[in-house]
Each structure stands twice: as C-alpha cells, then as structure tokens.
C-alpha cells in the first residue's frame, strides 16, 4: 500500500525470475469408487506448478476437489492417472518406505489441527522428529527453536486442550516444520479460526515463507486467505482448474463465474439489496444505468468520479464501493448510477487502462 506507485504498476519482482517449480502436477486425474458402483471423478486433468519459494493458493467451494488435490502432493492419495512431482521425485510412483522419507520434506497443517491430545505442545512438535529417528538432544534443541519461531515458548508444557485455536495451529505449524520441509501444505488451516486469529496465522505463514524460503501450497474456500498471503491462485471447480495465475490479475479481472462468486462475497463487489432488487435489464424512462468500475493498481486511488463530474458534468451516484488490497496491491470497486443520457459519455471516459467497467443494468 505504501510502496511507490511505479512499483505497483509493474509486475512483482519475483515474477521476473521464473523459479523452477518444486511441486508439479501433470495431467492428474483422480476417481473414487462411488457408493452405487459408479466411479466419482474428483479431479480431471489437473496441471499445476508451484514455483520454489512461492505461496500458491487453491480456492474452491467444498466438494470442488481441493482436499483431494492437496493430498496428492504428499501421497495421502494416489492419482488415477498423471504425475505428481515434488522436488524431482514422482510421489505416486515411490514405494511406501521412500514415500515416508519424502514426506519428511513435505509438511502439512490441517483445519482441525490434528494434534495428539495426550502430548504437550512440545511433545507434539517432537513427534515427527521421534518418528524420523532424531536423538533426544537434537529433538530438544529443534523443538525449542520451533516453539520460539511460532511464539509459543511459554506454552511448551501445555496440552492442546489448554490452548486456543490459534495456539493449536501454531503448534501444528511448528510440527509441520520440524523435519525442515521444503514444501508446506495447508489444508484449510484457518477455516476453524476467527478472522483476527486467521490474520495472525497468515502473518506467521508469510513470515515463514519469507524467512525460511519455504514454498507454501494452500487450499481454502476463503477469499480473504488468498488475498492476504497468496501471490498465485488457482480456482478449482468440479475437479477442474478453471482459472490460474497472478492473484491480483485473476481477482481484478475474473474470467470465470466461480471466481466472480468468490469476489461477490467480498465487500464492495456485491450489490446492496436495494439496488439488486430493482435492477432491470432494460432502461426505462427516468432510470439510471448502474455501472461497476474496478480500479486496479495505481488508479485505485485516482479521483475518477470527481473528474467525471468536473470535466464532463456527469454526476455519478455512488451505490456501493470499497478500496481493498489484493496480494499487497490496491484494488477498488465502485458501483455507481449515472443518468441514462450520460451513459455513453461516461463509458467513454472510463474506458482507460487500469479501469474495468461493466454495465450491470438499470434501476428506476
């Protein structure tokens, strides 16, 4: 937000050096045997690359196939066809013992934390290290480091039942990082948390990504998660990836219905009910045209409406709006009403780079 405007207009620096993908899904399909004998297809021909060091978010409604997708990456599910390559290894083709070894370099965190209730915070974090055969002294030092990293040093001897949701997820994150993985998989890690706690967990993940260079692949149904931490996004629906790319690009210029529906949940995008209920496709005498204007990048803070009034004498009536930040770049949405006779002139004025206009309809 406070970055110079020049930066905001250009591509983020990391995009200039295409990092090699650390996770790569190639034409991956997955079918499950259905209840009535009919196979159910969870994923169809998925292609997805997660560049090293990036944060990629997969967003989808429940049942879209995102849980299956993330479980393919650490081999909890096997693809029916296609390849899953993580750090050069074909996960689906690995024998069981090699797969277990490979999983040490793929951490995972869960919506319901999945901590052992019988172990303290420290002992939960120690578990993957015990399993990997570290000796006691190594485990102790590593656990202390991890507790400090997630800010829970003072809670080391607490049982999960004595911790809050956010603290439990911090333990989950520390446990996932114990064996120094290269990739972290996040399965709806903040979906059971309140917005404030979600924010602090996302901040922690961002910090881990920046400081440890850890690649993060996360799945979520929450737009806020993608907006706050992801740099790249894939939108999944009905087992297909329907849209994929830079978060800011995708969410400021959504192409697919599902992407739009996620944005509609966001403030400023949705029409207020008093407008939505009176919206007609045709103009009528005395009606106003309703236009949605998306402001992207540096234009998000331009006084466009003031200029419309001053330079063209068109008074736009603001119906709803918000200025937001997506992937660290400002993005504004305004829904305005303009008199029918000024519509053409207004659209003409608004037709400039950085602005996306869409006529939604007419209200009397």
């Amino acid at each position: 937000m406070n970055a110079p405007l020049g930066y905001l207009g250009s591509e983020p620096a990391q995009r200039l050096i295409p990092a090699a993908p650390i996770v790569r899904l190639e034409k991956v399909s997955k079918t499950f045997p259905g209840r009535d004998g009919q196979p159910v297809t969870a994923l169809r021909e998925i292609n997805l690359s997660v560049p090293q060091g990036s944060i990629l978010g997969v967003i989808g409604r429940s049942g879209a196939g995102k849980s299956t997708l993330i479980r393919l990456v650490n081999g909890l599910e096997k693809p029916s066809s296609g390849k899953v390559i993580v750090d050069g290894a074909d996960i689906a083709a690995l024998p069981e013992a090699a797969l277990r070894h490979a999983r040490r370099s793929i951490g995972m965190i869960f919506q319901h934390f999945n901590l052992l209730s019988s172990r303290t915070a420290a002992d939960n974090i120690a578990l993957p290290l015990e399993v990997a055969g570290y000796d006691k002294a190594e485990i102790r030092t590593r656990v202390e480091e991890l507790l400090a990293l997630v800010g829970l040093s003072d809670k080391r001897n607490r049982y999960p039942s004595e911790l809050s949701g956010g603290q439990k997820q911090r333990v989950g994150i520390a446990r996932a990082l114990a064996t120094k993985p290269k990739v972290l998989l996040s399965d709806e890690a903040t979906s059971a948390l309140d917005p404030e706690t979600t924010r602090s967990i996302l901040d922690l993940l961002t910090k881990i990504n920046a400081e440890l260079g850890l690649t993060i692949l996360l799945i979520t149904h929450e737009m806020a998660v993608i907006r706050n931490i992801a740099r790249e996004v894939a939108v999944i629906e009905g087992g297909h990836i329907v849209e994929q790319g830079d978060v800011f690009e995708i969410f400021t210029r959504p192409q697919h219905e599902v992407t739009r529906s996620f944005l509609a949940d966001e403030s400023g995008r949705a029409l207020p009910p008093y407008v939505a209920n009176h919206l007609r496709a045709e103009a009528s005498p005395g009606s106003q045209a309703v236009i949605r204007i998306g402001f992207r990048g540096p234009h998000a803070t331009d006084p466009v409406l003031a200029r419309l009034a001053r330079e063209h004498g068109i008074e736009a009536n603001i119906l709803s709006g918000a200025v937001d930040e997506i992937a660290g770049r400002p993005f504004g949405t305004l829904v305005v009403g303009v008199p029918e006779r000024s519509l053409a002139a207004a659209l003409d004025f608004l037709n400039k780079p950085g602005l996306d206009t869409e006529v939604l309809g007419h209200v009397a």
């Binding site: 650490n74 909890l76 277990r100 070894h101 490979a102 999983r103 040490r104 793929i106 951490g107 995972m108 869960f110 319901h112 999945n114 901590l115 052992l116 209730s117 019988s118 172990r119 578990l127 993957p128 015990e130 399993v131 990997a132 049982y159 999960p160 039942s161 004595e162 446990r175 996932a176 114990a178 064996t179 998989l185």
Partner: protein
C-alpha cells in the same frame, strides 16, 4: 463370624485375586494386539486385510457368545495341555484367559476406533510408518479408553471367576456356593457378596481415576 470363617474368606479372596490378576494380565497381552489388529485391518485402514479381519472377528464373536461355564468344560483337554491339570486355581486361569481375551480385544478395538482419523492422517503426512502410528499415536491417544475397557474386563472376570468352582478353581464364588448355599450358611453367602462388592468398587474407582488422569482431552482444574 468365627475366625475359621474369616480365614476361609481371606483365603478365597486371595485365590480370586490371583486368578483374576493372572488371567487379566495374560488376556491383555493377547487382547491388545488382537484389538489393535481388529481396529486397523478393515478396508482401507493401516494394515488393511479385510478378509483376515472378518475371520478374526467371527472367531472373537464365537468365543464371546459361548457361555462361560460351557467354555470351562469344553476346553478341559486344552486346559490340561497348558496347565498340566484340569482342576484347581491354576487350571481355572486358562478358561478365564480365553474368555477375557476376545472381550478385551473388542474393548480395545472400540477405544482405538474412537481416536480421531485426522491424527492418523497427520502422522502419515509426517512420515510415520503404520507401526509407529500404532505405538506413538493410536495407543497413547486411546489409553484412557483402554484403561476403562480393562477395568470393565477385570470386573467381568471377578464375575466369571465365581463359576470356576465347577472345576475346583476355588475363589469367592466357590466359597459362597459350597458354604453359603450347600451348607445353609447365609452369613457366609452374605460375607462373600460383600467382599465381591468391595472388590468391584475398588477396581472400578481405581480404573476411573487412572483413566481420568490419563485423559488430557478435558481441561483439569
């Protein structure tokens, strides 16, 4: 109550405790792996072997549906093979163990099935082997339930042990039948029942307390 009676009761209590303790211990030794197997060998589970699971399940059910007193008599040749005799306290341990093992296996299976599937998934995700999952996740997490199950098994064994008088196993039940019933000594019968009540109460409250202490799922004040 005469000193002789007290001596008899004390002696029988000792026999009962001995039979129950030894059979509970051996039955747990067999029942634990059996229970773990039953809980983890279904379709799509850690040690998936659905057919073996089904066969073991049938055997377990068959043993459990055999009335104990019939079991005691039916396996006399086997008892003789194991204990060297078919009469006496040591011989009684054999049918007690055989009756308790499938019971304990089912209780342990139940306790392990209560463990959140998410924990198994998490453990698989950080690279634990199936055996590590059993040892480090399933058993520790199921421990409060296992302890409660074993408590129930011990209480049942106290009841079963009353029937082994039929093969000269001795113990409190035998004392109650022989003196209280056959020799018309209601005070002896009453005394036996009281001792059994006290034993059951003691076992149950020790088990409850232990299970509560092991259970970290609930916040303790």
């Amino acid at each position: 109550m005469s000193p002789e009676m007290i001596r008899l009761i004390a002696h029988s209590t000792g026999e009962t405790l001995y039979m129950v303790a030894v059979s509970a211990l051996i039955a747990t030794l067999f029942g634990l792996p059996l229970g773990v197997f039953l809980a983890t060998s279904g379709k799509g589970e850690l040690f998936a072997a659905p057919w073996v699971n089904r066969v073991v399940g049938v055997i377990v059910n068959a043993t459990r549906s055999t009335p104990f007193i019939i079991l005691v008599v039916a396996i006399i040749p086997f008892t003789r093979l194991i204990a060297g005799t078919s009469i006496g306290t040591n011989a009684a341990i054999v049918p007690l163990t055989i009756a308790a093992t499938p019971f304990i296996a089912r209780l342990i299976e139940g306790a392990i099935r209560e463990v959140d599937q998410g924990l198994i998934e998490a453990a698989r995700a950080f690279g634990a082997s199936p055996f590590q999952i059993v040892r480090k996740v399933l058993i520790p997490e199921a421990l409060p339930g296992i302890v409660l199950g074993l408590t129930l098994a011990v209480v049942s064994l106290l009841g079963f042990s009353a029937m082994v008088g039929a093969v000269g196993g001795g113990g409190l039940g035998d004392l109650g039948i022989r003196y209280g019933y056959q020799r018309f000594m209601p005070e002896m019968m009453l005394a036996v029942v009281v001792v059994l009540i006290v034993l059951v109460q003691a076992v149950q409250s020790i088990g409850d307390r232990l299970a509560r202490r092991l259970n970290k799922r609930i916040r303790h004040a």
